[in-house]
């Protein structure tokens, strides 16, 4: 009963506010953003938030979109699917945003997919699970590479290294379970045997018990699939257990802060991700290089920390949305969705995007490269 009353009061207040703000909002373009700025996915959400603010400032300084200023409304979901749902409803029903970018995590993205789809508000997700855009939903897009690409890249590298028996550990989240499912699906295609496959709690602070079990199975490599601080703990625990197995991480590892937290234990980790973190090593002929170097430099100048691929996802989501609104010459949801499907050859931080009616991700397998850690720095993996 009481929550009902509170909801009514809140609705009335919102109504009042929308009258006040509508006069000034008439010529701005409102874009909603849901990021896990705090909480377990903070190393993803915080750079996304910082990047989104930076990009919107740049857009507004150079004249906005279609001559209109952009108003970015950022919500911190703390990587909680429940909060993402209520923020998505708020952005759609009360703020009447033109589109939503984010959420940060796969679990949140899946939770709000239907809200955006049924309200007819374009969503450009910053999460990677293949299921976000498969099957295709008219208004739902995503910019990070699909997790099946990541799984296949890991297996290709294993084939080259002669690894055939592995253990898979993953956080018990949408991202972790999604990755684990892809690894299990593609294992036989690459002749890989998964001896142990298990999930752990996303808040885990020590994984020696689990890794003991993995080690006892006699695996040649361990694949860890998570975005949480546990990524650094896995590396430390494997060193402490004197495990000989090669550690692979998912693309969730592509923030240098995870390397700093793991210290010396991070050296030698191999993981697939987009070219952003190794931009300076790319040949000048690479179509992405100029953009990546500029984004890295701008981000570092503004926030005094290294850019990560996650901030890059927010960059891609906003610039792609801008391109779509400009080519649609309208903020009408149907026209934006159609324009998004028409974007081809668009150079972003995650790769070159070629969207279509059947592909709402637009990235190809070659948008991903293998990266390793050498003396606390990311560098392109060159094989053994």
């Amino acid at each position: 009963m009481r929550t009902g009353t509170v909801a009514k009061i809140a609705a009335l207040c919102a109504l009042g506010l929308s009258f006040i703000s509508s006069s000034y909002a008439a010529d701005t373009i409102k874009i909603g953003a849901i990021f896990g700025i705090t909480g377990p996915a903070a190393y993803l959400g915080a750079p996304e938030d910082k990047t989104a603010r930076m990009v919107v400032d740049d857009i507004n300084k150079s004249g906005g979109i279609l001559g209109r200023q952009v108003q970015l409304i950022v919500k911190d979901s703390g990587a909680s699917a429940e909060k993402a749902i209520s923020f998505a409803k708020q952005l759609v029903d009360e703020e009447n945003v033109v589109a939503i970018i984010g959420p940060t995590t796969s679990g949140e993205s899946m939770a709000i997919k239907d809200i955006c789809q049924s309200a007819g508000v374009p969503l450009i997700s910053c999460a990677s699970a293949e299921t976000i855009t498969t099957p295709v939903a008219k208004y739902v897009f995503k910019v990070p590479p699909k997790d099946n690409y990541i799984a296949e890249w890991i297996y290709r590298t294993m084939n080259a290294m002669g690894i055939s028996k592995i253990g898979v550990i993953a956080a018990n989240t949408g991202f972790g379970n999604g990755g684990k499912a892809q690894l299990e699906k593609y294992a036989s295609k690459y002749g890989i045997t998964i001896a142990v496959s298990e999930v752990y709690d996303a808040d885990a602070t020590d994984l020696t018990a689990l890794l003991t079990k993995v080690n006892a199975a006699g695996v040649q490599a361990v694949v860890n699939w998570s975005i949480e601080p546990a990524q650094s703990i896995v590396a430390k625990n494997m060193a402490q257990l004197k495990m000989k197995a090669q550690l692979f991480q998912s693309h969730g590892f592509a923030n240098i802060k995870y390397v700093e937290a793991a210290g010396e234990a991070a050296d030698g980790i191999i993981f697939p991700c987009s070219r952003l973190v190794v931009a300076s090593e790319l040949p000048d002929s690479n179509p992405q290089k100029k953009l990546l170097m500029k984004y890295n430099a701008d981000y570092k100048a503004l926030y005094n920390e290294d850019a990560s691929t996650f901030g890059g996802h927010a960059y891609d989501a906003l610039t792609i949305l801008k391109a779509a609104i400009e080519s649609a010459k309208s903020t009408d949801a149907d026209k934006i969705a159609a324009a998004l499907e028409g974007i081809k050859g668009f150079s972003g931080t995650a790769g070159v995007f070629n969207f279509s009616a059947a592909d709402h991700n637009g990235l190809a397998m070659d948008s991903v490269v293998m990266v390793t850690v050498k003396k606390g720095k990311f560098t392109l993996y060159q094989g053994k």
């Binding site: 190393y43 915080a46 709690d201 020590d206 018990a209 937290a261 010396e264």
Partner: protein, 295 residues
């Protein structure tokens, strides 16, 4: 080599068990002095680790840890003086609700002060990749520090409560507040001291495990739940029992991963706790007189 395989699980169990025990001892000290459960207990462990990680850049590690323990102990006293004594005077329930509010307040303040990023302390001996071998099992040398700190806490507390006048006065105060007051003991001072001690113990535990488990602003809530579980499991108010219960729970969580996915180890712990509390509501070693005296 199955014996080495089984032995290997002992060490994570020891780490989990030690930190749970230290947090549970903190619960018990405050419970004995005031009759309340201080739900901000986990936050003290968080503060210890976070303060030490900040100071470690400026001071030698041992000094950073000592300063973190002292500062956290002082904040424990401040919490009691400022919030519990004035706002929540009168009523155990009111005080407990206040501690829940305090835990949220401390957590949010830590988020503002340190941000969302994960921090670690340098390993006390060796580094991330150091490892000690024992009968075929391998573990980080930090395990010695964790177990040592817990042993030190238990031995120190035992000596304090048995042999020092202040310790005896605190025990007297928890046995009979009015009686102790008549003997010239100031109960308010004892309660403040209990908060200081329990915050300091939490902070020390938070520091010794930080190199292994990493720390961030939000670890307090989980630790408080585990610590409370252990305190209830052993018997509220009994610090020796808290160590046994803590180690038992830690071992159970560690060894349960042999059969059950790691993600469900918390469920295993809670199930065992429920069974124990159904069978023996006062906990493993608790007496009826000591349990929930104010409720």
């Amino acid at each position: 080599m199955p014996h080495a395989f089984l032995l290997q699980y002992f060490f994570p169990g020891l780490i989990y068990g030690s930190i749970y025990a230290a947090v549970a001892i903190g619960f018990n000290i405050i419970y004995n002095a005031t009759g309340i459960i201080n739900f901000a207990q986990g936050e003290f462990a968080m503060l210890g680790g976070m303060i030490a990680s900040t100071l470690a850049g400026l001071l030698p590690l041992w000094l950073a840890v000592a300063a973190a323990v002292a500062l956290t102990a002082m904040s424990g006293v401040a919490v009691e003086r400022v919030f519990l004594r004035r706002i929540a005077r009168g009523g155990v329930l009111k005080m407990i609700v206040t501690t829940i509010g305090l835990s949220i307040l401390i957590r949010e303040a830590a988020l503002l002060a340190w941000g969302e990023s994960v921090r670690t302390l340098p390993f006390f001996s060796g580094n991330e990749v150091s490892s000690v071998s024992f009968l075929g099992a391998n573990f980080s040398p930090q395990v010695f520090w964790v177990a040592g700190a817990t042993a030190l806490i238990v031995a120190g507390l035992t000596a304090f409560f048995k042999f020092t006048l202040t310790g005896k006065a605190m025990r007297g105060c928890s046995a009979d507040r009015d009686g102790a007051s008549l003997c010239g003991i100031d109960p308010d001072r004892m309660v403040a001291m209990a908060f200081g001690m329990s915050a300091g113990i939490g902070a020390l535990a938070g520091c010794v495990v930080a190199p292994l488990t990493q720390t961030h602003y939000a670890i307090g809530a989980t630790l408080a739940i585990k610590g409370f579980t252990v305190a209830a499991f052993g018997g509220l108010g009994n610090s020796g029992a808290a160590v046994i219960a803590g180690l038992a729970l830690g071992m159970l969580e560690s060894y349960s991963t042999i059969l059950i996915p790691e993600a469900y180890k918390d469920a295993v712990a809670i199930c065992v706790l429920l069974v124990v509390l159904f069978a023996k509501p006062t906990g493993l070693f608790g007496s009826r007189a000591a349990s929930l005296k104010e409720f």
